[in-house]
């Protein structure tokens, strides 16, 4: 069981091609980091996998546990176990965090079954506590008026509530201070399991010090140009991405 991406080419709808033949295999239970300079296509990759309407697949395939990802709608992909922690989580005015999560969990229930409200709130409260979030956030509108760090934390909370099998974290570390980074990382580490994979997109070593990846990829000009173990992180930290650019 894994997420397998083969020769993926994708572009902005009616615009520039960003992904130029991505090949990736992410087996269940592993944590993969994707690093790369600005504009290399990291965020595009995560959006294309989740079905963002601004992008289109030109060619190639993606399989999620044997299912054709590109044949599914955005929400079907989510319910099939794919989760994206957004680089910029969106504000949803007037919709409380609790109602949003209830609706999202309810959408995963078999027809005719109701989510149990009491155990839902209990779970949400305990997960919020583990992320050091104010319990009053349940009644606040999703991300509205949240600081950058609060938004990121809220996305991690959603991930914990939805229990995805594949979670992509798109620059979750940006906007987080050291303490928040630690809390969020602990949350992610606690979720590491043989039945779950993480794809961590980041510019910085900092996050990867807390969440140690099994595999590190470097994405450059829409292609995976290097795949190695954790030692690659240190090399990038020391040399920047110049050594990759110079290999071009």
């Amino acid at each position: 069981m894994s997420l397998i991406i083969k020769d993926l080419h994708a572009r902005v709808k009616d615009g520039a091609t960003i992904l130029n033949g991505i090949n990736l295999e992410i087996p269940k239970g592993e944590v993969h980091a994707i690093m790369g300079p600005n504009g290399s296509g990291k965020s595009t990759l995560s959006k294309v996998l989740c079905g963002h309407p601004d992008y289109e697949v030109i060619s190639g395939s993606a399989e999620l546990d044997g299912q054709d990802l590109f044949a599914m709608s955005v929400d079907e992909r989510s319910r099939a176990g794919l989760f994206l922690a957004f680089q910029y989580p969106v504000e949803v005015p007037g919709v409380t965090n609790a109602n949003f999560m209830r609706a999202a969990l309810q959408a995963r229930m078999p027809k005719g079954e109701e989510l149990d409200a009491v155990s839902f709130y209990k779970e949400m409260r305990s997960k919020m506590k583990s992320l050091d979030m104010d319990p009053r956030f349940t009644a606040r509108a999703v991300n509205e008026g949240f600081s950058g760090g609060e938004k990121k934390r809220n996305d991690i909370l959603q991930m914990m509530m939805l229990n995805p099998s594949y979670a992509i974290l798109d620059e979750t570390d940006s906007g987080l201070d050291v303490d928040a980074l630690k809390i969020v990382s602990e949350g992610v580490n606690a979720m590491r399991a043989p039945f779950r994979s993480f794809v961590i997109i980041t510019h910085y070593k900092r996050l990867l010090d807390y969440i140690k990846p099994d595999v590190v990829h470097v994405l450059y000009k829409g292609k995976i140009v290097r795949t190695a173990g954790y030692e690659l992180v240190a090399q990038i930290e020391q040399q920047g991405f110049d050594f990759i650019k110079s290999e071009e």
Partner: protein, 466 residues
């Protein structure tokens, strides 16, 4: 609460065969008025009053210079002006004729009465079928009857205010209602009496080509408080149906009236309603208005702020689907110093639906220290949806503050992607976004209504996205 006990989305779903003892036929003439007066057993002054109003109605032009186009298609000759079973309102559900009772049972009225209402008036076509109020309130001197009974039994209270807040010649539809009115509520709450539970009216149109002209007068005496709610439904017919009510509110010194409407008429219904309240010193009138149904609604609840420090508020939600025009808004007339008013209007246009906001804020000459805040926001669900805003603001007093804010937005694709990425279908995501848009206003509705409103919006979204 169990949702099955409360449903106002029966729009177009069911009707019963007609079973009327009285039918005044098509068109409105002096003979029609004689027929109505005879059926109701009304006094001569009222017969003359109605006939005078009819003459004024006939003499007045349609408000085509400003009103939406669709009003031109309304043919007064093709409307039936009085249809009734011919019995006085029952006080016990068991006595209500079976078809009528089944209608209101389907709408959940008896359960609601037991659960949370202080009193109910259920109107079926032209007349009230059922009217009842808690005994305890009767003992306190609260009056809650239909307009016919109100004019008969309580003429000394009713008549001095009848047509005073909304005069016969206010506009053509006011004249029409004064000529043909039937049903609606007469409410009097004595000095200092505060109703803890709402009074509820149901307006049901059952018959084809029906014209329903309910007439409501609510008087809250000094320091009295009440909430009144009305719900409106009708089956869907091919021919046009007309609902043209007149609602007058009088809040005497320090009194508070809240008037809640949830209108879900079928789309063949013209909903042309005049609602106006008079707020005396330190009194407060709030209109909470929700328009979901009808093909053409023209409705602009108003408050005349007549006494010092009086407060007026309109909270308005409208939802316009394909083939619907919701022309709604609010009017605030500041006729005393230091009066304040607040208008919050939100509209949602779906598909080819159109929602307009029409507002008037008028601070009369010499009225100093008045305040108004107006906020209207429109949400467009598709590129074909449309919204218009027509505000009119006139300030003639000093040291007054009037503020108007308007916004138009579309449901943000980034937001839908975010919601869908968490597993909600596009329709569910849209519903959630729309519910969020009006959330702060829905909170103003009693709980039972807000649950139902959210459910109605979910249904509309499912329909529009498929």
């Amino acid at each position: 609460m169990d949702e099955s006990t409360f449903q106002i989305d029966t729009r177009g779903e069911f009707s019963f065969p007609e079973n009327h003892k009285f039918d005044a036929g098509f068109g409105l003439t002096e003979a029609t008025i004689d027929y109505i007066c005879d059926a109701k057993g009304e006094p001569d002054w009222l017969r003359e009053f109605r006939k005078d109003a009819l003459r004024k109605f006939n003499a007045m032009p349609m408000p085509t210079h400003w009103a939406p186009e669709g009003i031109k298609d309304l043919d007064f000759e093709k409307i039936r002006y009085y249809l009734a079973h011919g019995t006085a309102p029952y006080k016990d559900w068991e006595e209500v004729p079976d078809d009528v009772k089944r209608t209101f049972e389907r709408l959940g009225v008896p359960e609601q009465e037991r659960a949370f209402l202080a009193g109910v008036d259920a109107q079926y076509d032209s007349e009230t079928a059922y009217n009842n109020m808690q005994e305890e309130l009767r003992k306190k001197g609260v009056i809650f009857v239909n307009s016919t009974e109100g004019l008969k039994e309580y003429e000394h209270i009713f008549r001095p205010w009848f047509g005073k807040v909304i005069p016969v010649t206010d506009n053509k539809f006011s004249a029409l209602n004064h000529a043909a009115f039937s049903g609606g509520s007469f409410i009097y709450v004595p000095k200092g009496v505060k109703l803890e539970q709402p009074l509820q009216a149901y307006f049901r149109i059952n018959s084809e080509s029906m014209g329903q002209f309910e007439r409501t007068l609510i008087i809250a005496d000094e320091g009295a408080e009440l909430m009144y709610m009305e719900g409106c439904t009708a089956p869907k017919y091919d021919s046009a149906t007309l609902h043209s009510g007149v609602v007058e509110l009088v809040a005497l010194k320090g009194a508070k009236i809240q008037y809640v409407t949830v209108q879900n008429w079928a789309t063949n219904v013209y909903n042309l309603v005049i609602q106006r309240g008079l707020a005396m010193e330190d009194a407060e009138i709030r209109w909470i208005d929700c328009n979901i149904g009808s093909g053409l609604t023209m409705k602009y609840p108003a408050v005349v702020l007549k006494g010092r420090r009086a407060r007026g508020e309109v909270v308005s939600i409208s939802l316009a689907h394909d083939g619907q025009l919701q022309d709604t808004g609010a009017r605030m007339i500041h006729a005393a110093p230091e009066t304040s008013s607040n208008i919050v209007a939100k509209s949602i246009s779906i598909g080819k639906g159109r929602a307009s906001y029409r507002g008037e804020v008028n601070v009369l000459k010499g009225m100093n220290g008045c305040r108004n805040n107006t906020e209207c926001d429109a949400l467009l669900i598709s590129a074909e949806s449309r919204t218009d805003t027509y505000p009119a603001i006139s300030v003639n007093g000093n040291a007054s503050a009037v503020q108007h804010e308007a916004s138009v937005s579309q449901v943000d694709e980034e937001m839908l992607f975010y919601l869908q990425q968490r597993g909600l279908t596009r329709a569910q995501a849209m519903s959630l976004a729309v519910n969020g848009f009006i959330n702060d206003l829905v909170k103003e509705f009693p709980m039972e209504y807000s649950v139902e409103l959210r459910r109605l919006i979910d249904l509309e979204m499912e329909d529009s996205i498929g």
